[in-house]
Amino acid sequence: MKVIALNNVSKVYNPKGIAVTAVNDVSLAFDEGEFTAIVGASGSGKTTLLNMIGGIDMPTSGEVFVQNQKINELSEAKLTVFRRNNIGFVFQQYNLLPVLTAMENVEFVLEMQGNPKAERKQRAKELLTAIGLGNKLNERPGKLSGGQQQRVAVARALAHKPKFIIADEPTANLDSKSAADLLEMMQELNRKDGITFIFSTHDQRVVEKAKRVIVFEDGKVKEDVSYTK
């Protein structure tokens, strides 16, 4: 079942009046439970594509459907609510709130949704314990390694039980062991909970784990291959 569809999507930026086409007339569809890697060189348009799927950025032309909802026509406020309720984001730089503990970082998303305190504390604790950070609940990000921080970021992305996780180069700043651990965790979540993962990467180790690989070049899909794993 197709849960995400992009129809003839283009994105043109105009920095300093010079038009730059980041994504050029791309049509793609994603099934529920996919574990998809979008690969390509820097500047190929991977991040822009992910941002448009996640409702962070809007296409200049074309349509983006997520669960049959045309998100590129939503108002800013509705799009914010859509992101809050449906998408989990994992960023290359982790982007955790440095003044909050691991628990509080995860809780923050749940509070935005209006969950009661006890419930969100329990959920945050469960998630962090599940990803192997049960002993780091009250540590601030500055006290955690890169791999641990990215795990907290994944826990934060999962906290509100989203249907999709969008990850922009999640392993780019991790050493090989941390990257492998993170990938294993993501794969397990995909397998066990059926969460759809779409992530951009340069990392060959990540690509090898993906069920589907979309190769991006100059804003266009150069190759789109699915594997049975």
Binding site: T47, N51, G54, I56, D57, E76, A77, T80, V81, R83, R84, N85, F89, F91, Q93, N95, L97, P98, V99, L100, E104, E107, F108, V109, E111, M112, R156
Partner: protein, 400 residues
Amino acid sequence: MTSKLAWKNIWRNKTRSLVFIIAAILGFAMALFTLNTMKSISQQRLSDAINIQTSYIQIHKAGFMEDREINFTIPDAENVMAKVKAMPGIEIVSKRISCNAVVASPENNIACEIKGVMPQEENEISVLKDFLVEGEALNNNQNSPILVSKRTAERLKLKVRSKVVVTIKASNGEITGGSFRVAGIFVTPSTPYDESTVIARYNDLQELSRIDEPHELVIKVTDPNKVIEVQMAIQNQLTNQYQVNDWKYLLPELFAFDGFINMVGMLFTIIIIIGLGFSLMNTMNMIVQERTKELGMLRAIGQGKWSVFRMLLKESGLMTFIGAAGGIVLGIGFISVASKHGISISEGLGFLGIRPIIYPTLHPGLLIMIIVLAIVLTVIISTFPASRALAIKPQEALRD
């Protein structure tokens, strides 16, 4: 959580936040202290002038205030006094004679105003007796007593029990003189009053001036906040040949000075608040600048832009609250210490009626004003930097 986050964010850059908070503490403390001290000076001046010189309300014959003629006496004064005494809100009424005089000693002479007062009533209306530095207040047992200021005593080389000759123009136009004996020497906070006023008994001055009625009826009210109502009520009871004036009319320069000093205090406070405002705006601008990516991330994961805006307002509000609360506590501490020990200021300000030692008191109205200014400062000043956060686009913030 946004409140907790705002609180924790304040301490991300301790130095920067502390610089603002300390500046705010000192600023609010100084504003509170200065405003209350100035208000206290102004109130003390007014209070002294009212309690020593004019009381709250005076009745004169219409035209007396303009010409001060010896014959401009109050017709049927005893009946008027009786009528006024019977009115609500009146504590005491007394009569005075007031005329220009020359007071001479063997050494020197001065021109001044001589007031003839009823000793017993006057002691209840005026606090002049509290400012006697030598001798005693007027009473009915003395022989032609007169009170002079220390300045006058020095100029005329007088001591208690010294003799002086007072010369005035009597009601029939003749120049007449009488001998008085110094009963007491006073020093009030007002140099002009001291230099221009001597006090004698009503009956002695009446005999000298040969007038039958007083020049002014002096009225002390039970509630100083209801002076205007009482003044209007008295005026309504009397015909147009009587003029009823309150202290604001009788002491116009003091009333104007009170307004001026309030305005100076307010300007001083506004300057402090504007300075703090720029400091807060600068701090908040830096916060938004430094955390653009983080704010973009919050927007990306679903925090509404108004929620981000409120979070930043909370940060600036908390910093201002700490600064204002600390400043108010410190300011009240300053006022408390100063009210016990006093602030010694130059004696040279006696020409303005200001006492050489000021004992400031806390005026709740000014405290409320400072609190309101702190709230206004936070809301108005913080809105500009926080509104920059409204314009943050997550995709751009995360890319930078």
